[in-house]
């Protein structure tokens, strides 16, 4: 990366998930390595009898004080999550709505969010109106809030952000790509500041579909008891699927010189972003191996100024979620930067870099990687996975140790073939 390009800092973060709407709750959950699971409402009859039952769901009471029901009444759940996270991120950055509006009339602040599925419950509700009642029963409010960019628009509207407004929809890679796109807007001079991140909503219909695809920890398709769904085991030989999740995380990105001018604090610096695609991947899954894709990722990563090898990394924050195919595929990509042989020797931490798996505590949502990385850079250590068993085809072992200050590589491998690496580093 050219030294002339302005450095971009993360100056604030806000997050809402099954753990609540404050960062401290996420710190505690990260340290414990636990995921909060709630029972999914199956009353609509979408689920199979022996379906998965739980997910990491947001309890709306956690943000009622920040976003009172009267203010939230015209917002879809993802718009609400995004608003709550954006307000917290601004506060964390020491900024206010008035400060944003006063800065060139808001023209300098971009909003770039990522989402996999958009507002799924409002989409379901309007489709029920159309299909069960009549097309003329469609609610205009549900319609405008069912579009994927509704969360980004609501945040811009509420905070007076008049810079570019973009919503990225690249499945599991959406949030990382959104951060990279936001940083690019600042680097190119199209924006001076950006609210970036991701948001997901999990409604019962989406949960039931993921279950039918066999993607969830509890959806093995075999006879089941009333036992709780098993926990997700990222990278583990016994992994059986992921925990579906919802929530949002918003980061404030600024130029470091702007941050210095206002005596702000940097949580992290944004590093390079590399993206690639596996053209052999199925539309809803991951290919088996993708050496060309991995080489493209590493080549672009280094061209953008990324580190040469794992020894220069403080850690790798994997998108590993416990899915058998996903984790195997992603590990193939990560082995490129770790310079491991494709059939490396199994063992505890065979790599030079720490491998973090934050989806163990936040479930499958793209922002988990971002939140986990920022918590790791704070110096938190993650909770130990219980009884981890190495998969000889993966040979990566999650680390619960505290990472040293330095550079992190965040990884996302989306269903369908899109992949993204993003760098975050200690300020």
């Amino acid at each position: 990366m050219s030294r002339d390009r302005p450095a971009i800092a993360v100056s604030g973060v806000g997050v809402v998930s099954g753990h609540g709407a404050d960062l401290e709750a996420h710190r505690a959950a990260y340290r414990e390595g636990r995921c909060v699971l709630r029972e999914v409402d199956r009353a609509a009859g979408y689920h199979r009898e022996n379906s998965a039952r739980s997910a990491s769901l947001v309890d709306a009471s956690c943000y009622r004080e920040v976003l009172p029901p009267m203010k939230a009444r015209r917002m879809s759940p993802p718009s609400r999550f995004s608003m709550v996270a954006a307000l917290a991120a601004l506060e964390d950055a020491g900024l206010s709505r008035d400060a944003l509006a006063a800065d060139h009339g808001g023209d300098v602040t971009a909003v770039v969010f990522g989402t996999s599925y958009g507002p799924s419950s409002y989409t379901e509700r309007i489709l029920r109106q159309i299909l069960l009642e009549s097309p003329q029963a469609a609610s205009p409010m549900l319609f405008t809030e069912s579009v994927a960019n509704a969360p980004a628009a609501q945040v811009a509207l509420a905070l007076g952000c008049k810079g570019p407004n973009i919503t990225v929809t690249q499945r599991e890679a959406s949030a990382l790509v959104a951060v990279g796109q936001g940083a690019a807007l600042i680097r190119s001079g199209r924006a001076r500041r950006a609210l970036v991140g991701g948001v997901e909503e999990l409604n019962p219909l989406l949960h039931s579909i993921l279950d039918r695809f066999g993607a969830l920890t509890g959806s093995r398709g075999m006879a089941r008891t009333d036992a709780a769904d098993p926990e997700a085991r990222p990278l583990d030989l016994r992994r059986s699927g992921f925990v579906a999740a919802e929530g949002a995380a918003v980061l404030v990105l600024e130029r470091t010189d702007d941050l210095l001018d206002r005596a702000g604090r940097a949580r992290a610096l944004v590093g390079p972003m590399a993206r690639a695609f596996d053209p052999e991947a199925p539309a809803t899954g991951w290919g088996r191996t993708a050496p060309t894709t991995a080489r493209r990722l590493l080549s672009e990563w280094r061209r953008q100024g990324g580190v040469e090898g794992a020894s220069e990394l403080a850690g790798v924050v994997a998108g590993a979620n416990g899915s058998r195919r996903h984790d195997l595929f992603e590990s193939g990509l990560l082995r490129e930067v770790m310079a491991l042989p494709s059939n490396g020797t199994a063992g505890r931490d065979p790599t030079e870099a720490r491998v973090l798996t934050p989806k163990r505590f936040m479930g499958e949502q793209g922002v988990a990687t971002l939140v986990g990385a920022l918590l790791a850079l704070e110096g938190n250590s993650g909770g130990s996975p219980s009884g981890f068993e190495v998969d000889p085809l993966i040979c990566l072992v999650p680390s619960d140790d505290r990472v040293q200050p330095g550079k992190l590589l965040l990884s996302a491998a989306a269903a369908g073939g899109s992949c993204c690496w993003l760098g975050l580093e200690s300020p």
Binding site: R5, S116, L131, A156, R187, R190, R212, F277, P279, A283
Partner: protein, 480 residues
Amino acid sequence: MSQSSVFESLDSGSSESESAESESSESGPSDFGCSDSESRDSGARASATLGAPSAETHLDGAAVIGLGAVTAFGWTSADLRRGLATGTTTVREPVEFSTAGHRTALASEVSAGPEPSVALGDRVGWNRLSRADQFAVVAAREAWAASTVADWVDPCRVGVFFGGSTAAMAEAEGFFGQTLKNDGPRPRLRSLESQQLNGPGDAVARELGVSGPVVSMSSACASGALAIEAALEALRSGEVDVAVAGGSDSLCQMTYAGFNALRAVDPERSRPFRVERSGLNLGEGAGVLVLVRAESLKQNRDSVVAPMAWLRGAGGSCDAHHMTAPHPEGAGAAASMRAALRDGGLEPLAASFVNAHGTGTPHNDSAEAAAIADVFEDGLPVTSVKGAIGHLLGAAGAVEAVATVLALSDGAVQPTAETKGTRTEIQQTGTLEPGVDLVLGAPRVLPAGADRVGVSNSFAFGGANASLVFSTSPVCGPTL
């Protein structure tokens, strides 16, 4: 502009671009078979204060070397070119899409397409694609073939940037409708395989076999333009040498009912910028551009087709005013156009015409007219293709970018489809939005011999705006 003159322009480029080329040629292929060329440094852009002109102008654009389009005029960009030139409309009662139960019964529907064996290679199973995916893949293949980049480009250095608003919602509606019936077998999951907002972009990348970045965007009606903007950014940064950029959307019950619920739909054929307008007509289709870095154009001058136009700049803004209504004075729209011109290093005076968002809704057209009057001098030709092919939502910005490039390469701005009255009658009765010089009746020929610049606008729900600036030359017009 001829190919030789294009390369002469490139050869006389700034020292910065020569430096970039030098760096690029030194790097060569990496150890991994993926080329590892150095990016042009965008530091000069970033160092400019926001709102001030960028220091960089020359060679900062991307060459458009391939076009593809699927619209109700047909499954090629040639069909779109011929259709738009006639000033006729494709809006009618659709055949395959059911409007039963809706308040209105008009749409611009794509008719039956080519045989899969003609349309596709072996990589993508045609029947597994959603309708939106099919539009995207066919348009991309047309643009890809026209560009001939497959002869020289490293697939690792090709990115796909795609916009859409609903992707395979039409197919998902079938799945959900069957689920709700709850009186038969569960619907097959296969019908949901393509129901992902990243579906069309992924399908294009799979079909072309490329492994650079694939990025999908869904910012409602600005999606296609924003995807093209993202492609330009990736080309400028050196992340890719070639970008396949566009958008695709198909008609579905949700958007048809939704726009009806908002009372944003004209029960008759839409009349962009006419004072009696009362709404839009929905449409479907896809538009794709193949864009190439100027440096790649130079390095492969023996293989590359002559550029049809140049994507000079792109800009975005947000109204931050209302979820569905534009800022009444078009403040966000004006900011978007100014940002795009500034990004391309051009003064508003350089513009030859505007391909407007021009939906035909009362609010949009008055706000956009105010914005155009604010940014440009009087008398700038304005056109809207939405009267001819409907509003393609997430694909609109992409198809309109194709139309803008066609206008530049043909030297004539396509007319806005007339639905009532002749051009003379319309002008004499004063039924046009004040301040808009709408192209009506026949294509408006642009001044011969001069470099030409076209601005294409896309404005979306939630106030997201995007503007693209294309020109006939990599360096032309009054620059900043």
